[in-house]
């Protein structure tokens, strides 16, 4: 069950427009799973009026901490970026349904594919997968070098058996889109599943590739959220339920969905 709490900021790291913020929140850490998210009230008395959703980028039960990784894109993320350790902030979480990986076992090989800030939930997932001794291949792409700030932490914590970077301007790793690199990748017969989060166009392309390879995949979707806990019906997307597509609340039944269940275009 999710909770509404006041959490103290424990640590903050920043790289340009990207921020990694750790909260002391034992109540949430105890329940958290990769792919779930929190709703953050970035200003105690607005604006912005509404909370903002952020995927959990980490959770540590023993330390009683959770973390988010975000990009500054507008008013809310701008205000959030100004908080300092020691300050308090209101959180609701953990919310939604995360990735399913419990059934995966060695010698499975997993592809984690993240674009820009979409690396956030995968960063948490990678920690859990490595704890289980699974082989993790991370594809991490962005416009330019500065869009890949978590690359060092991924390497240092050995969260990827193989870390593949791509930038559109070629300033780091492969030049091009992360999906171009993925397309050229020779898929290992051990590849079991892909986990994906990033811009809509990127996720759509990845979904196509996975379909071609007949590889299962889970995608963390985004939508503007009014509440985050299922009461406003504002966050819906067309998702397959039984034989037909229905408008399903992302915050309740997602944000993570299987590739086959997501309607990627109007034609489907």
């Amino acid at each position: 069950m999710s909770q509404l709490i006041e959490a103290v900021i424990k640590d903050k790291k920043s790289w340009g427009d990207y921020f990694f913020v750790t909260f002391q929140a034992p109540e949430l850490a105890a329940l958290a799973a990769p792919g779930q998210f929190v709703m953050v009230k970035v200003s105690p008395k607005g604006p912005p009026l509404l909370r903002r959703p952020f995927s959990l980028a980490s959770a540590d039960r023993e330390e009683g901490t959770i973390a988010i990784f975000f990009q500054r894109v507008g008013l809310g993320t701008n205000l959030l970026s100004r908080y300092s350790p020691g300050e308090k902030i209101s959180l609701i979480g953990p919310l939604g349904r995360g990735f399913s990986f419990e059934d995966l076992a060695f010698p499975g090989e997993l592809l984690l594919i993240g674009g820009g800030r979409g690396i956030a939930p995968l960063y948490y997932l990678a920690q859990k997968l490595k704890e289980r001794g699974l082989k993790v291949i991370i594809f991490y792409g962005g416009k330019t070098q500065s869009d890949l700030p978590l690359r060092e932490a991924l390497a240092k914590k050995k969260l990827a058996d193989k870390l593949i970077l791509a930038t559109e301007d070629g300033s780091l790793g492969f030049k091009g889109l992360i999906t171009d690199v993925l397309e050229q990748e020779v898929l290992s017969p051990l590849a079991k599943k892909a986990f994906v989060c990033g811009p809509e166009a990127m996720m759509k392309k990845v979904a196509e590739l996975l379909r071609r390879w007949n590889l299962p995949g889970e995608f963390s979707l985004e939508a503007f959220m009014g509440c985050g806990f299922g009461v406003c019906w504002g966050c819906v997307r067309w998702i397959k339920r039984g034989q037909e597509y229905q408008l399903v609340r992302i915050c309740q039944e997602g944000p993570v969905f299987s590739r086959e269940d997501i309607k990627w275009s109007e034609e489907e």
């Binding site: 509404l4 509440c227 009461v231 504002g234 408008l247």
Partner: protein, 310 residues
Amino acid sequence: MVDLSVDLGFIRLSNPIFTASGTCGYGLEMIPFLELKKLGGVVVKGLYFEPRQGNPPPRLVETTAGLLNAIGLPGIGVEAFAREVLPQLHQQQATVIVNVCGNTDDEYERVVRYLDDHPGIAFYELNISCPNVKEGGQCPALDARATFRIVSRVKKATQRPIMTKLSPNVTDITIIARAAEEAGSDALSLVNTFLGLAVDVETGQPKLANVWGGLSGPAIKPLALRMVYQVVQTVKVPVVGIGGIVTGYDALEFLAVGAKAVEVGTANFVNPRVTLQIIDELQNFCQKKQLSRIEDYIGSFRPRREKQKT
């Protein structure tokens, strides 16, 4: 201890704070955050007879101190509601108010007839802001005659009290209020959302798939308060105030102008426990003012005499 209970004539409620329709789901989604029985009432999401998908996304846009929505009343329909939701709400000892919707006059009637056979509903809130298919998609709430027609019909069809929820998107809301009262509505609630528009400047397209939507939240409070005041002056039936309430003071403003109770909407999204905080704030306010009953505060608003213009 202050007595926060209020009398709507047909029912006495433990306090004047409800969660508004469409902002607390079917009530059950709020259980992680609050005990439903502590609320004066829980107004559940608008219910049509059949299940519905609602509008395509995007359905929400945040505006300055407000929220623009075009959700389009998706829902599970009366059967699933009565079978799956109502027993759970009953178990929670919630005071349940069902927001009744319809595409046609007939559908409103079918909804209340069906629900009348199920215990555990205190009364109905008639949502006359639903597009009516037989009237080219116009909402009954925009027209006094259509309002009168639907309210009379539902009143005859049900054993339970009805509260008609008015739309603010009219020139003179007192005319619609009077029509609903004359048709037998036992109470009135207002306001529903104000029609509004938001443009994506990059694409030149509307931000909502439905083009426009309804504005709610703090931005509408003074507009709603003025209308509640006018309607209280016009009708004899109890009035429930809605619009932009976030704090105890906001609620008190509506009570001051004569609302017997209030509904809290958008604020639940920001703080799902906000209604309990408002109840505490009412307690504290009454204690400070040495009022033993909140009812002694209701209607205490005294407009100043207009000063002589020089």
